[in-house]
Symmetry: C2
Subunit: 252 residues, 2 copies
């Protein structure tokens, strides 16, 4: 896996560098499922670039990607690459920061590698169960174990406002709720101990890269409705530090 | 006002530098109104440092500060300094980032100067109606005018979850809701065009420094319950880009 990671990291560096340059030009923005579900020419271009690299080096592997052409069912018994070319597209368009490029490699439904690139901070979090977790070249130590009351909880605005999956009660049990609008940044916040967890409603490309890194630290996650994640379509998702996860399983 | 700003900026640089150093030592954390309303030894020390500087240079002026000893009524007909020594104390304690040192100068209830120091980013936003707005040495241009649908809205978690002040409907009218847990960062996001506005429930020391900078750009704000801000005790607060403010006044 180390060799694959070393092959992939320069792809992500190149994709990030192109994004930083091209985002200064006018964006072509289209809506998808609704007024605030956006896709830009740069989401598409970034996905196409990563798809090209994967198909060149791993022609046997399957690919699941957020944008058109690759967001269909895949054969999870094969090796599958999962791409979120710009995670946090609304932040990308409106803030020009607080977005990530994300990539994951799974094999027989097991995570192997995850990559989350906080593009404007210049920080690539990467690794997996065989490698541990790195931020750029620095190996990270696992965050300290937290109970719900010990940390901040990243949240999806819709779940929180509509109190789905007990979101408000879970939030009230923590030290406070934060909303960043970018699954990758929420996962980074868990990996670095800035948050106790993250509760949202996600597609596989939103959670798979982060889960590959959570797996490296043994940080648990599941469907926020307690159904297992099935890597197909949008599902409520929760990841929590182990003691907080035990509280969630018992009390919510 | 330029001379006063030039006197004050080194105080804030010194306070920020001390904070960055002392925050690596164990913090003494106490609760105030509730389990997640925290004060640390460094909130108190930062306030004491700024109070000392103000009393040395401006002995006639009144002082309103978040922490004990200065959070009482002041005479708003005088010149008043308003201190929030660490805005976002929960972030400070749990994340060691995403907090600000804030200071404002008011005269006969009119803003004169505002300072918001994003300590870990090393960015001091400062200025006022006579000076314009600066980030460190760089003069900022006003953000572009936005309607509600054009931008992200910073939000207070409690107002949002409990749908007070129409928070959910206002949020739904925007491009999306974000929660940062730090009034200073929300104000910076408005000043730099990263957010269309901010809806929260604030004390005067939370909003006065930001309002002094909003005044410099002519960005409107009021009580989120449409009562005027009275600079005494906690009040619902909303600031919005001018076109969005007009929509809020008309439709909510």
């Amino acid at each position: 896996m180390k060799e694959i990671a070393e092959l992939v990291i320069p792809w992500l560096e190149e994709a990030a560098s192109v994004l930083r340059e091209k985002m200064l030009e006018p964006l072509e923005v289209e809506t998808k499922s609704g007024r605030n579900d956006l896709v830009t020419n740069l989401d598409k271009a970034t996905q196409a670039f990563l798809v090209g690299k994967i198909q060149e080096h791993f022609p046997e592997d399957d690919i699941l990607g957020e944008e058109s052409g690759f967001n269909q069912e895949v054969d999870w018994q094969k090796r599958v690459w999962i791409i979120d070319p710009i995670d946090g597209t609304l932040n990308f368009v409106l803030q020009k920061q607080n977005f990530c490029i994300m990539l994951a490699l799974y094999e027989k439904r097991q995570s192997r590698l995850g990559f989350i690139y906080d593009v404007m901070a210049g920080k690539l979090y990467w690794g997996g169960r065989d490698l541990g977790v790195y931020c750029n070249q620095e190996k990270l130590r696992p965050p300290k174990a937290m109970r719900l009351a010990d940390g901040l909880l990243g949240m999806n605005a819709y779940l929180y406002a509509h109190n789905l999956c007990n979101a408000q009660a879970v939030g009230d049990a923590t030290a406070g709720v934060r909303i960043m609008g970018c699954a990758g940044l929420e996962m980074i916040a868990i990996l670095t101990g800035q948050q106790v967890g993250y509760l949202s409603n996600l597609q596989p490309w939103d959670y798979a890269p982060g889960c590959a890194l959570l797996d490296a630290f043994g940080i648990p996650y599941t469907g926020a409705d307690k159904a297992p994640l099935n890597f197909s379509g949008r599902q409520p998702f929760i990841a929590l530090s182990q003691p907080a996860f035990a509280e969630f399983q018992k009390s919510f």
